[in-house]
Symmetry: none
Subunit: 220 residues, 4 copies
Amino acid sequence: MSAQPRTARGTRTRARLLAAAEDVFASAGYHDASIVRITEQAGIGLGTFYLYFGGKQEIFDEVVDDLNARVRHAMTEAARAAEDRFDAEREGFRAFFRFTAQHPALYRIIRQAEFVSPGAQRRHYERIVRSYAHGLAAAQDAGEVRPLDPEIAAWALMGMGELIGMRYILWEAGGDGGTGGAPRDIPDHVLDELMALIQRGLAPDAPPSAATSREDVRHD
Amino acid sequence: MSAQPRTARGTRTRARLLAAAEDVFASAGYHDASIVRITEQAGIGLGTFYLYFGGKQEIFDEVVDDLNARVRHAMTEAARAAEDRFDAEREGFRAFFRFTAQHPALYRIIRQAEFVSPGAQRRHYERIVRSYAHGLAAAQDAGEVRPLDPEIAAWALMGMGELIGMRYILWEAGGDGGTGGAPRDIPDHVLDELMALIQRGLAPDAPPSAATSREDVRHD
Amino acid sequence: MSAQPRTARGTRTRARLLAAAEDVFASAGYHDASIVRITEQAGIGLGTFYLYFGGKQEIFDEVVDDLNARVRHAMTEAARAAEDRFDAEREGFRAFFRFTAQHPALYRIIRQAEFVSPGAQRRHYERIVRSYAHGLAAAQDAGEVRPLDPEIAAWALMGMGELIGMRYILWEAGGDGGTGGAPRDIPDHVLDELMALIQRGLAPDAPPSAATSREDVRHD
Amino acid sequence: MSAQPRTARGTRTRARLLAAAEDVFASAGYHDASIVRITEQAGIGLGTFYLYFGGKQEIFDEVVDDLNARVRHAMTEAARAAEDRFDAEREGFRAFFRFTAQHPALYRIIRQAEFVSPGAQRRHYERIVRSYAHGLAAAQDAGEVRPLDPEIAAWALMGMGELIGMRYILWEAGGDGGTGGAPRDIPDHVLDELMALIQRGLAPDAPPSAATSREDVRHD
DNA sequence: AATGAATGAGAGTTCATTCAT
DNA sequence: GATGAATGAACTCTCATTCAT
């Protein structure tokens, strides 16, 4: 069972373990991330680990929750500075991609959680969706978003972000899966395309003329 | 090193191993999927495994490629029967969700590939994106889709499908992460919402006349 | 249980197995010499092996006995051509070294026999010693060799040959233990020194003057 | 990778492993000497082994080096107490045989090293030869040994010791290859014969009369 | 608070041997 | 006579976890 540190020194030790664990989980994967490796990276003794965490799975969960809180914080902060809803959405995505670039651990860890800790994984996604759906609902009330089920939309949007981030941030970074190279921002044109898709979908613009419908287009 | 069987009996054995591996990888995860478990499930001797596969990772890769081929086949088949592009897209997604419901292995296995076999994972996503982007490009030429970068859009669409599938197929199924329960189709309203999003995005409909806005709709 | 072949084809198969086994045992060592490898090298099917040999150990023993017969044959032949006993001994050694150069398998296999088949090892050494001791005894009777225990001397001589061969034939060949390089004869000066040692031992030549003997030295 | 123990307890554990390994390698042979057996004999847990040794081969090498150091120490100590060179040689051999009797591991292990660790084997022989050759060279300078190549002679002498030891110590002991029975000293008459051979070789004593030589004998 | 020696279940893998074809 | 698919015991090695110091 984990224990909260009682001294300042203990607090530092615990924090170092958490940071080391994020690193090691991200670079080696849950199963190849041995406790020895984590403690070595943290620069503390092996046995000390069990003073602060109940086991491997427990520290994993905590790392997931920590990353989740941080990415949501980054997104909210970015969105708050925005002027309108569309801008907010754009900045939220940008913040998400930036966080991904700076903390590839996020992806790599979340995906592993599938088996390691399904609960933690679910928590992660649901928390993001919740705030997303909340924003959408508000926007709907404000007439900025058309009538739709905010939760379904939120899951879809998150999915877009997830795979676009994987492809254009993680894979670009290392060229081989993201294990090397410097983090980079999302290219502008990718973000532009993504936002356009989110706003308008795939459908061609309605022609200026009155009664446009898909049937008409087809005759063309 | 894997070897191709030289007899009919060998071919059967190899196939049984692959099927068992898909099962075990999906239910237990790569790391807890021991060779013993796979061979037991396949009903063959432990040593026999190494007659056909070089090791765990090798059979994993083959399972991934196999699932990938099958899901793409299912999607293409479904889309081919469609009458127009919109319908094709809808049926493609439906097929994908149905496949997900019937083979939860797909998700569970792909996500693990992150560390187990990054190459296989990448191959999987890229293959799907390729045919997706191809379809979008063709639709663009036909004027059915507005001008956009087909690859970026393909990644985004795939992401939507991925998370919607996770949430409304996998999680619903078992209620706890997908380890039990009967597979079910995607609920109609979810698919409807998704398709609407893909077609039109979030933006409110452009008012036909001057002052139309959501406020009007609401009074209804 | 091994079986003698009943057909000409069978005889050839058996011989090929034996030859392959000698090769593989010599290059890989008993334990890393798998039956598969032996049969592959022999170009026959795995199961066929058990038609001719009862098992790994059985073919090993046969290889040892075969090598033993051949090295003894080579030595006897060489000695027979010699003119006197000293010459015979020299030529016997030379033949032994030449055989060693051409069949490093001899050493490598005999030494492994220590555990694999102590009986075969013992047989090998004893057979060589027997003929050696026999020759020494005869030479003694002829007054060409001073009175001594022929068996003890035979073991000692064989030991000299063994380590000289190891050092100046096997190790020279590959430079690293004998796994490569072309076989070479024993250098003349090495053989000369060895023969001198066998004939005269280490002691300095008795001084030409009359009564010198080791007794004198001792008084000192 | 092996590691040096950091505590007194660790040092004791490591030593116990080394001793057990010597035992097991000697009685079972390298390949049948499983780590389990070694740790069981040492009375420690299996995993503990890997705290101190990188693997089987690594502990094997260390056992070889250890035995080598000990046998050379025994020989040098014995020789040091001797009064003259001849005596020194005799006592050196006797010490070697005694060590052999007390540590049959020496032979059994060295011979296996042929494949298991050629480097260790070579090191073993070369170290012994080096000190041997050194002693011979010194004796030569003192006029106690006739002119000869000390290295070649050293290899030959070592070979004598090796096979005499095998035959009259190891094989006598158990009667069946040395796996049982009490260790015993080399019988005096064997040592006497050996020393005589080393001193004087095989040649008959020069007859007291003047011009005797082998040429004369031949005419006979 | 901190340490690292010790543990053993369990993993992947090899291979001598059997036997149906 | 010849084959190779099948087997499972046995091996080496890893690592989360415990505990005496």
